[in-house]
């Protein structure tokens, strides 16, 4: 083994132990994410890619994404990533405004964000995704439009966009509770989101899931897997895996994770999914996508006729222009997508 880092060592071991988890299926996507994988050195990334290829059959055309912070990227690093075979970059830009970045406690500056996208493009990356955050306090509608336009002007292929959330326990949550910060009103947040959808559409970047937008052919294979019930294996501390009827998640703590491997202990918790849970997950993730859910598949896999079991519900959604049908495919309109969670939960099966 070529590394001294106990976490990486453990990850290599995890690859070996889990080599049968995906039933020998061919790997179509690899994703380096969570935390700051771009801090890894070249040989460390190589080590993990080798471990993947030694234990799995990785498709030569696989999508290989690396999550990066703008401040970790420079021409040398980008060249290195290119050499390693990374063919997609996910850059955590979040905003092109310094005041937003400061508020969200980001390490980079707005000009670094623009710079690193340009450098990545010069280094030959032609599949770049960036993320943009909306509903930031003091982010006016005009400033938001400028942010979106800047992303379009940079010519990225893919955008993910998230609403700033104020969860209890986070610093934001505390400020909101203490009254020193105001959460952006629902109406304003929706307005920003709809503006985003519209402007990206005009630029040829289409929404294909609640928070994901791409030029044709650049939809993330990796993200899509989560919403299509595809199986996946996560390697490393706090990584999640899914094999069709169970989910498991690794211990989150680096030291406990590597210790588990060193001592031969169990490193994950597992949850078996009942048929109802599988159904609910399919509805929940499926309705988030523009493609929607396949009623034929629901009949085959779950023996449920969704439309006739929810006549009133669907009628109401229809009246509110939240749903469209195309054959067996049921999907949400732009308006419906704004309420995708609430709508999904209405279709849920609840076991007592």
């Amino acid at each position: 083994m070529k590394t001294k880092d106990p976490v990486l060592k453990a990850m290599v071991l995890e690859f070996q132990k889990q080599r049968d988890y995906l039933n020998k299926e061919r790997i179509e996507t690899i994703y380096f994410g969570g935390g700051t994988p771009s801090l890894l050195e070249e040989h460390e990334i190589q080590l993990l890619l080798d471990a993947a290829r030694e234990n799995f059959e990785v498709s030569p055309t696989a999508e290989v994404t690396m999550e990066c912070n703008p401040d970790d990227l420079n021409p040398t690093k980008l060249e290195e990533l290119k050499r390693l075979g990374i063919n997609r970059l996910s850059i955590g830009i979040q905003s092109f405004r310094d005041e937003d970045l400061k508020l969200m406690n980001r390490a980079h500056k707005a000009n670094e964000a623009t710079r690193c996208v340009r450098e990545a493009q010069s280094a030959g990356f032609d599949n770049i995704t960036i993320d943009l955050i909306y509903a930031i306090p003091n982010l006016s509608q005009e400033a938001w439009i400028k942010n979106v336009d800047q992303a379009i002007a940079l010519g990225v292929q893919h955008v993910s966009s998230y609403c700033l959330t104020f969860e209890d326990g986070t610093a934001f949550g505390k400020w909101v509770n203490a009254g020193s910060m105001h959460q952006v009103e629902d109406d304003e947040a929706s307005e920003q989101f709809l503006t985003l959808v519209e402007r990206l559409h005009d630029a040829g970047i289409e929404q294909y899931e609640v928070s994901n937008f791409a030029r044709k052919g650049y939809e993330s294979k990796h993200n899509s897997a989560y919403w299509n019930n595809t199986t996946y294996l996560g390697i490393g501390p706090s990584a999640h895996s899914f094999n069709g009827n169970s989910r498991q998640w690794n211990v989150a703590h680096n030291v406990r994770y590597s210790k588990a491997f060193a001592e031969g202990l169990n490193w994950y918790e597992k949850e078996i999914l009942t048929p109802a849970a599988q159904f609910n997950e399919y509805i929940m993730t499926g309705l988030r996508t523009v493609k929607g859910i396949d009623l034929g598949r629901i009949r085959d896999d779950f023996n449920i006729d969704l439309a006739s079991a929810n006549v009133e519900l669907i009628q109401g959604m229809h009246d509110r222009k939240e749903v469209i049908f195309a054959g067996d495919q049921m999907s949400l309109t732009k308006k419906g997508l704004l309420r995708a969670d609430a709508i999904a939960s209405d279709f849920f099966i609840i076991e007592s």
Partner: protein, 596 residues
């Protein structure tokens, strides 16, 4: 029969009845070490969770003394005022009562009221000074209180502890020697009084009775005098830790009968059971009808479950003879039942039992007492529901029920107790020092002020050192107004309440605020208004949700999010559609939760 003793255990709440029952069950070997737990007789889940007795519980014990074997039928009773009907029915099946007094608390309000019930029925009273193991026990003073109250000799008071087992032998001795054997003629015509019953989904209705005269054999053709229905006694027996079948029971004993009847309406607590071919001439005097103190509507959340709710309530009524109900309908909620309860705890327990034992999901509406509305033409209308209030223009005046409240408190809390009572529109009638530091206060107060949160508040202001009992007095003219709540301009009858004029503004405002917290945001804006007649006195708005979707949903988020949405859906199943608005179950009781 001469070796049978029937007795109940009575006391103020929490003085240790059920714990002392454990000691008796253990001592007599009725229960094995393995089955013994704390308050074994509190076998309903709600009783165990809340740590209080709700139902009387009869159990038979065997005990040998002086070379003879005795049959002891014990009935443990609840102490909370709301369940005093359970106590009074138990008393009717007994010749003696163990009156338990907590040696650290002394005589409290229900000690007195339960004692009077027992004395009225000529029961032999065995006073017991319980919790003697506590450092705070005050045996001399409390013994004096007991002697004063029942006029016994200090030697008659048995010091005991349900914790250590102290005094248990003396108690058993007293039960055998001081309580009279039941009188009655085993050779006479069968006459048995039904004092309780329960619905069992496998076996049908099980009725509990005390035989006054005669014998009952398995297989007998029997008859209930009031309902005039006849059945075969498929199974009879006595109540041990469970049902113990017997082939014959005779006068003086307490037992059960199963006839296979499943329809709740066919059996009535208080009825007399006899033999078809040789019926007794007279029915035993049944129980007095209960007088409900509080009324509220109970509605199914799912309108299609109305009939199921009715049958569940009938079954529940078998086991809770103090529940009364009649059908009613509400513009907002459709068909349901107006129910009468003995108090707020009783109401809560009924709702909980309907949900647990019968899997019903129900809405309980704002409770109220009963009012008398006098119309200008001189007629009087008794109101059990604010929506039945006549048009104000045709009304002359309205009366509300008053009670006489007796509060016993440590003297240092008298000031706080008085302040509370006056806030609740009470009027002090009498103040007596029972001892140098115990005071009995007598107040006249509107029942409507007492049933809601008075009891809890009294406990708070007196740090648990005040107890309270009441009886209804009369109706008095009062300045009451009807407070209506409107959702998007439509009045919701189930949320209306009659309120004293002086409290109306404040309450209207607080109810609107509370509803704003309880009703989730929906796809449209909701206007909440409180009004008196045509006058709007408070308003709030719940803004519309436009967006209800979390941004991220990747690997690790999926199961967390699914669970969250599953929870949401479960919550929604407990909501009731009023017009277009989904109103959660608990919002209908918002008035009661203004202080939370």
């Amino acid at each position: 029969m001469k070796n049978t003793r029937n007795f109940c255990i009575i006391a103020h709440i929490d003085h240790g009845k059920s714990t002392l029952a454990d000691r008796l069950l253990h001592k007599t070997g009725t229960i094995s070490d393995r089955d013994l737990q704390e308050q074994t007789l509190d076998d309903m889940d709600i009783e165990r969770e809340r740590g209080i007795t709700i139902k009387s519980h009869a159990i038979q014990m065997k005990h040998s003394a002086d070379g003879e074997e005795y049959i002891l039928n014990l009935i443990d009773t609840p102490g909370h005022v709301d369940f005093s009907y359970e106590v009074s029915r138990s008393i009717a099946a007994c010749e003696g009562a163990l009156l338990i007094v907590d040696a650290s608390q002394g005589i409290e309000a229900q000690t007195i009221s339960n004692l009077y019930l027992a004395i009225e029925h000529d029961l032999e009273i065995i006073p017991i000074l319980n919790k003697m193991d506590l450092d705070s026990a005050n045996p001399e003073e409390v013994t004096d209180q007991i002697v004063d109250l029942i006029g016994c000799s200090p030697d008659d008071v048995i010091p005991a502890s349900g914790k250590t087992g102290m005094g248990v032998d003396e108690i058993l001795h007293a039960i055998i020697h001081r309580i009279k054997a039941p009188v009655g003629d085993p050779n006479g015509q069968l006459q048995a009084m039904v004092f309780d019953s329960v619905y069992n989904s496998f076996r049908g209705i099980i009725a509990y009775y005390r035989i006054m005269n005669g014998r009952l054999k398995k297989g007998d053709r029997i008859k209930f005098i009031n309902t005039e229905r006849e059945y075969y006694a498929d199974e009879i027996g006595v109540l041990g830790m469970g049902l113990i079948p017997r082939t014959m029971l005779e006068a003086g004993n307490v037992g059960y009968i199963i006839t296979g009847v499943k329809d709740a309406k066919e059996i009535k607590v208080g009825d007399t059971l006899t033999l078809s071919n040789d019926p007794c001439k007279t029915a035993i005097k049944g129980f007095e009808d209960v007088k409900p103190m509080v009324f509220a509507g109970i509605y199914p959340v799912d309108t299609e479950e109305y009939e199921e709710l009715r049958s569940s309530m009938e079954k529940l009524q078998l086991n809770d003879a103090s529940l009364v109900f009649e059908p009613e309908s509400s513009a907002a909620l459709g068909f349901g039942f107006r129910c009468g309860f003995l108090g707020m705890l009783h109401m809560e327990i009924i709702q909980e039992r309907l949900e647990r034992e019968f899997a019903m999901t129900v809405i309980t509406t704002v409770p109220n007492v009963s009012y008398k509305a006098y119309v200008k033409n001189g007629t009087m209308i008794e109101l059990h529901n604010p929506s039945d209030m006549p048009n104000p223009s045709s009304m002359d005046y309205i009366e509300e029920p008053y009670i006489v409240a007796q509060i016993i408190s440590k003297s240092e809390y008298v000031g706080a107790v008085m302040t509370l009572c006056i806030e609740k529109r009470g009027e002090l009638k009498n103040q007596v020092y029972l001892t140098s530091n115990r005071v009995e206060l007598t107040f006249e107060m509107p029942l409507g002020e007492v049933v809601f949160d008075f009891y809890d508040k009294l406990k708070t202001v007196s740090r648990g050192y005040a107890s309270f009992d009441y009886f209804t007095a009369d109706y008095r003219k009062s300045d009451l107004v009807k407070l209506d709540i409107m959702l998007n301009g439509d009045p919701v009858d189930a949320l209306s309440a009659l309120i004293h004029k002086d409290h109306a503004f404040d309450l209207g405002k607080r109810i609107c605020l509370k509803l704003k917290q309880l009703i989730p945001r929906q796809q449209f804006m909701i206007a909440l208004q409180a009004s008196i007649g045509a006058k709007i006195i408070a308003r709030e708005t719940i803004t519309a949700v436009r967006k209800d979707v979390t941004a991220k949903c990747y690997g690790g988020d999926i199961s967390r999010k699914r669970k969250l949405l599953e929870k949401q859906k479960k919550g929604k199943k407990r909501m009731r559609q009023v017009g277009r608005i989904e109103v959660p179950q608990e919002a209908f009781l918002a008035v009661l939760k203004l202080n939370d």
